[in-house]
Amino acid sequence: MTWLAEWAAYLPQMMSGLGVSLLIAGVSIVAGYPLGLLLSLMVSTKNLAIRTLGLAVVEIGRGAPALVILYLFYYGLPKFGIAFESITAACLALIWNAAAYSSEIMRAGIQSVPRGQLEASSALGLAQHHTFFRVVLPQGMRSAIPGLMGVAIQMFQGTSLAYAIAVPELMKSAYNIGSQDFNYLQIFTLAGLCYAVISMPATWITVFFEKRMARHT
């Protein structure tokens, strides 16, 4: 029971950390998904140069651990005279991460649109951009929703990496509190609960969407 009392006392500080975590996750998703769409188009294009560039960005984003990218942004780029605040570096690294993972999900979604939809559009004489933006993309995105929600959860949990460059996010708040009173067990349990309270309902919603979509197709 003393845990509960202590948690209540820590909560305000933890909440400000959680706010920062949610902010970073939000920025990485809001900026990362449109970039992911762009990357998925680049990877699908016939132009070799554009496709190669797109592939490189995607493969590095997925292949390198997010922490490596984070360090490159924060410690590496100042070598070239480009310095970021720690929170900016964290956002940029996670944007790259989100863009790379979401691009593959969106590409799969777009490819899952039945050929008949393209044929009907051609037969009706619809222009290519109308076919893509009004017929293919809405359907492809719809089937990408569960995967994109999964990436969003992954991004939220990934914000804990920003701790490594001293961003005052949830883990950093927990560590600060813990190092005052040396009650690491309580505080990191609380941190874990904070992540779970956000991630678990998000996972349930994802599963709900997956089921609903399985029923409608």
Binding site: G116, E119, S122, A123, L124, G125, Q139, R142
Partner: protein, 261 residues
């Protein structure tokens, strides 16, 4: 008002189409071998033949969903040689002139029935939303589905979806309609709803080319019966004459197989 009048805004541009020496191969596999077909304005042509004969491929070559390797297509004042470069103006004109209905309907699942029919009108013909919706509602009423206007396709039966698909194609004022086994995915009774719409369209004088296994429809409605087998047209002419007295053994074998089914 009749279907065709609604479809083309009172002035039926009854068009014929001439296809000459159409050939198509996939790799080494010849699918169409020098196929020619002339369709007179306002007539119905039924295309029958065994599976794999190349019927769908031929139909899809007409509006260039499939690009033939050689041959010529003449429709309205356009002559298109698909073996050579086809400019986008000719392609757009061809697609506007020729409407197509698919076996699997291919309605846009994320749009209501009304939107399915209005959206292409707005984008292809540049109609305003009000104009397009008005035309769509007329067509929906005509195919007996006015009450389905605001439903999504997944809420409609197969027969209803196919009638919506027909309305969608008609909304663009095609001079010619292509049908690729429009009732094959449907239960027989439901197929009748669709065939009824097609009969009405034929009676209104729409030029139609219909790939079908519905022998009764082919006999009663079509003006010309075309039999395809092994990548070519083996026989064509009056449907009753061919059905009662086929000239080719291949035709006889095919007809016996379908009629005894």
């Amino acid at each position: 008002m009749t279907l065709a009048q609604i479809a083309d805004g009172q002035l039926a541009p009854r068009l014929g189409i001439k296809l000459d020496n159409i050939s198509k191969r996939y790799g080494d596999h010849v699918v169409l071998d020098d196929v020619s077909l002339h369709v007179e304005p306002g007539t119905v042509t039924a295309l029958i033949g065994p599976s794999g004969a190349g019927k769908s491929t031929f139909l899809r070559c007409i509006n260039l969903l499939e690009r033939p390797d050689s041959g010529t297509i003449q429709v309205a004042q356009h002559t298109i040689q698909p073996g050579k470069d086809v400019n986008s103006r000719d392609l757009a004109a061809l697609r506007r002139t020729v409407g197509m209905v698919f076996q699997s309907f291919n309605l846009f699942p994320h749009m209501s029935a009304l939107k399915n029919i209005s959206f292409p009108q707005q984008k292809v013909l540049g109609r305003s939303k009000e104009e397009a919706d008005e035309r769509s509602m007329q067509l929906l009423e005509r195919v007996g589905l006015k009450d389905k206007a605001h439903q999504h396709p997944s809420r409609c039966s197969g027969g209803q979806q196919q009638r919506i698909a027909i309305a969608r194609a008609l909304a663009l004022n095609p001079g010619i309609m292509l049908f690729d086994e429009p009732t094959s995915a449907l239960d027989p009774e439901v197929g009748l709803e669709v065939l009824a719409v097609m009969r009405e369209l034929a009676a209104d004088g729409m030029t139609m080319i219909v790939v079908t296994h519905e022998m009764q429809f082919a006999r009663d409605v079509s003006d010309t019966l075309v039999v395809m087998a092994d990548c070519r047209i083996i026989e064509q002419g009056d449907p009753r004459a061919i059905m009662s007295d086929p000239q080719e053994t291949r035709t006889r074998r095919f007809l016996r197989a379908v009629l005894e089914r």
